[in-house]
């Protein structure tokens, strides 16, 4: 069974380590915040200018001056700090954010990522994605393994305009967990019930399979 979006987020949450500062992109990455393991203390950075993002406010508590990078109303946790957009991307560029999680349309087996533009469609812009992928020490991509037409999104080379080059470190898709290595996608885990053969068939880029590939474990 392919993972749900929630399960992708849940699996990514297992990559969090105590003390991490983490930037979560829009979409599935945002859901990661719901699955932070017990005993693991992480601080969420929102690139519009906040460290210490909390959950959505209770009804009636929304503050129009307090939003996240997805423009959603949010809250803060104790110890939070506000700052301007230059310092926000400054701390990202300086490698102070330990982990960035974001979505992708395509990832190449060299770690290139495309997630901002589809030629011929209305282009909304890259927002902070290019800064994040160019700067982050550790980037995990949350994505579907295939597009709605059934074509692989894990490719030998991206076909869409790039967001960044050789930057993705790990992918958690609905089918698998993969490391991006100099040799290609290295399969680490399978979604429960998904076979290595299915992953092979749905991965267009170079795939490395060594030994027994375990199923993901969810608590």
């Amino acid at each position: 069974m392919a993972l749900t979006k929630e399960q992708i987020a849940q699996r990514i949450a297992k990559e969090l380590r105590d003390g991490y500062y983490v930037n979560l992109g829009i979409g599935i990455p945002t859901l990661v915040a719901n699955y932070i393991p017990a005993g693991i203390n992480v601080v969420l950075q929102s690139e519009n200018g906040l460290l210490g993002m909390g959950p959505f406010p209770e009804e009636g508590q929304e503050d129009p001056d307090l939003i996240n990078a997805g423009k959603q109303t949010i809250t803060t946790v104790p110890g939070s700090v506000f700052f301007d957009s230059a310092l926000s991307f400054g701390m990202i560029r300086a490698g102070k954010v330990d982990l960035t999680v974001l979505g992708a349309m395509e990832v190449s087996d060299q770690g290139d990522i495309a997630n901002w533009k589809i030629p011929g469609k209305m282009v909304k812009g890259m927002g902070g994605a290019m800064d994040l992928v160019a700067s982050a020490k550790n980037i995990i991509v949350a994505m579907m393994h295939s597009n709605p037409k059934g074509e692989s999104k894990l490719l030998p080379a991206c076909t869409l305009p790039l967001t960044g080059v050789r930057c993705v470190k790990k992918i958690v898709s609905d089918l698998a967990v993969l490391d991006v290595t100099p040799e290609g996608f290295k399969l680490l885990e399978r979604a429960p019930g998904v076979t290595v053969e299915e992953i092979k068939a749905k991965t267009a880029g170079k795939l490395i399979i060594e030994g027994e590939i375990p199923e993901m474990v969810f608590n």
């Binding site: 690139e47 200018g49 009804e59 929304e62 001056d65 996240n68 423009k71 506000f82 991307f89 800064d131």
Partner: protein, 232 residues
């Protein structure tokens, strides 16, 4: 050094057609609502707007788009409104998309008198086209120039008559950076207080960067994505 002007109308009255203007704000958060309204009323045209976003159909810079006052947008993320898309596709509107951190840092560079900065954002992408790439310590960076804007219009929470500004929460965003970057900077604030009232340790934008300040009125502060959870 009193910088106080009467209102938005007076603050923007000398902005000519064809000017390059920075607008603070991220989405609809922390945007200079009063000055945008005054510019719409004034009808200034042919503007190049440097702003992270372009508002929505009926709010923010979207109001200026409706009036066809904008020639070019320099932004990181746009298109939350239909009129924007129509003008873009019809060729009436020019759009330059640049990474959000690059946008912020090019504002900062102007305020710090630094002609250019280096950032890795966009290396190897179409953003790098025509730009100088330089390797430092094994990593490639693009050289990006400081912005050169005729006017910057920002919104702060509190300000004093000397132009010192304090922002609230994530309404800070691009405001302090653009405040530093305009040849003429106009600040509208929710509360204007006499110089000497604000704590000098707790000022986000020193008044030396501000040329005109006024207390705005009737802030709508529209929320773009209202997300809430049920009461516990």
């Amino acid at each position: 050094m009193n910088k106080q002007v009467l209102n938005a109308t007076e603050a923007v009255k000398d902005i000519p057609d064809g000017a390059t203007i920075m607008f603070g704000g991220f989405g609809l958060c922390g945007i200079p609502e009063n000055c945008i309204a005054a510019l719409v009323k004034q009808g200034t045209k042919g503007l190049t707007c440097i702003s992270n976003n372009a508002g929505v159909d009926d709010f923010g810079i979207g109001l200026m788009l409706q009036q066809k006052q904008v020639k070019k947008m320099i932004s990181s993320y746009v298109g939350e409104n239909a009129e924007f898309e129509r003008q873009l596709l019809s060729g009436e509107l020019e759009v330059e998309l640049i990474p959000q951190g690059t946008l912020a840092t090019r504002c900062m560079a102007a305020g710090y008198g630094m002609p250019a900065i280096y950032t890795p954002a966009g290396v190897g992408t179409e953003v790098a086209a025509g730009k100088e790439v330089r390797n430092f310590d094994g990593k490639d960076y693009l050289m990006e120039y400081a912005f050169d804007a005729d006017f910057a219009i920002v919104k702060a929470w509190k300000g004093d008559t000397d132009g010192n500004l304090v922002y609230k929460a994530t309404a800070r965003n691009f405001n302090p950076l653009m405040a530093m970057a305009g040849k003429i900077t106009i600040a509208e604030v929710e509360e204007l207080v006499p110089a000497g009232t604000l704590d000098p340790d707790m000022i986000h934008t020193p008044g030396i960067y501000i040329h005109r300040i006024f207390q705005g009125e009737k802030y709508e502060k529209r929320i773009e994505q209202r997300t809430v959870q049920k009461k516990a």
